[in-house]
Amino acid sequence: MATPTLDKVEAESAASPYITVTLRIRRFNPEVSDEAQWQDFRIEIDPKERVLDALHKVKWDIDGTLTFRRSCAHGICGSDAMRINGKNRLACKTLIKDVNPEKPITVEAIKGLTVLKDLVVDMDPFFQAYRDVMPFLITKGNEPTRERLQSPEDRERFDDTTKCILCAACTSSCPVFWNDGQYFGPAAIVNAHRFIFDSRDEGGEQRLEILNDRDGVWRCRTTFNCTDACPRGIEVTKAIQEVKRALITRRF
């Protein structure tokens, strides 16, 4: 089809998809100030683009010092979890039009972890909790010469918790974790759940023992913040409850 240049220009100016959005970002730079503060950026953006695109626009065109993590930018690597309009989300999976662009869109670092700069937090405590639940296959006896087979039903049992991308959106939305970082947090429990209910794994008892402790699953207050925050739609609270049930039925 022929595309007359003049017509195209006219059509674009008539219905420009761009709108002006105010991005209110919580900035923190220890090399400048010991306090974090909000800073507004006004940008022209298509509302069908994502918050991550807006952050890129700011970083590339307006202020290069804006610091945030992102790798794949397609909701798989789990680097860009942040608090957008007060709710933990992945910036790369949140469209501008879905976060009420008429008002300023607030973007801040996830809570409960040390902010290093702007939107970058220290993820070490989070990953340490993850490591503590031993998120790897534990087996006894000789290694089989072929694959460890599993029925579709057995695989289905823990299917939901295999989707975790370790973005920390759930753990940093948990009010117990905000007040006590010693709590293992939803993400670690989800990843323990993934192995506890795996029929091929034989380390379930050890993991249950770890989560039975003071900072384990019994600190969960079932506020469902984690389920709401999970960008992968994992029923996190349900997984935690299933671990609780496994602990109780194991004893009685």
Binding site: V32, Q37, D63, T114, Q128, W178, N212, R214, W218
Partner: protein, 158 residues
């Protein structure tokens, strides 16, 4: 935009206290996970506490609603309550047991709930310890005093 922002972030006097070689301390969350995970206690206490909350809650619904119904609604309502009414009720072992069960379950349920709140919100180790000691003392005192009264109640006291 950039000039505006640097002015906003820098201190009012125009001289920042912090620079690249001398960064400000980062803001750490309360009770951050330590480098090495503390060794677990390997007891089932937390599980039993959690279970107790659920079970005592169910029993308390029956006990407390029944108590309120008898005391405040049935047979003349609140106006009938007096020394004689209490004495009459505690003459029966059934109501003694009812009130004893209610006292123990409600006190332990409430104490465990407060213990949870203290564990969640008291950040400093010392504050947490002393708040819990205060809580346990108050609980033990109330439970013992109540039990004593229920069992040694004398309707002929003058």
């Amino acid at each position: 935009m950039s000039t505006e922002s640097s002015a906003a972030i820098g201190s009012v006097e125009g001289v920042s206290l912090y620079d690249v070689d001398n960064p400000a301390p980062v803001i750490e969350p309360p009770r951050k996970r330590t480098g090495k995970t503390p060794k677990g206690s390997r007891t089932n206490f937390e599980m039993y506490a959690w279970l107790f909350m659920r079970l005592s809650g169910i029993v308390l619904v029956v006990l407390v609603l029944g108590h309120l119904l008898i005391q405040l609604v049935l047979d003349g309502g609140v106006s009938k309550i007096g020394f004689a009414f209490v004495a009459g009720r505690w003459a029966s072992p059934f109501w003694q047991l009812w009130d004893l069960g209610m006292l123990w379950l409600a006190m332990l349920h409430g104490a465990n709930g407060l213990r949870t709140v203290i564990n969640d919100y008291a950040e400093r180790e010392n504050t947490r310890f002393w708040l819990k000691m205060l809580l346990y003392t108050a609980t033990v005192f109330t439970v013992l005093l109540g039990t004593l009264v229920i069992f040694t109640f004398d309707p002929n006291i003058r």
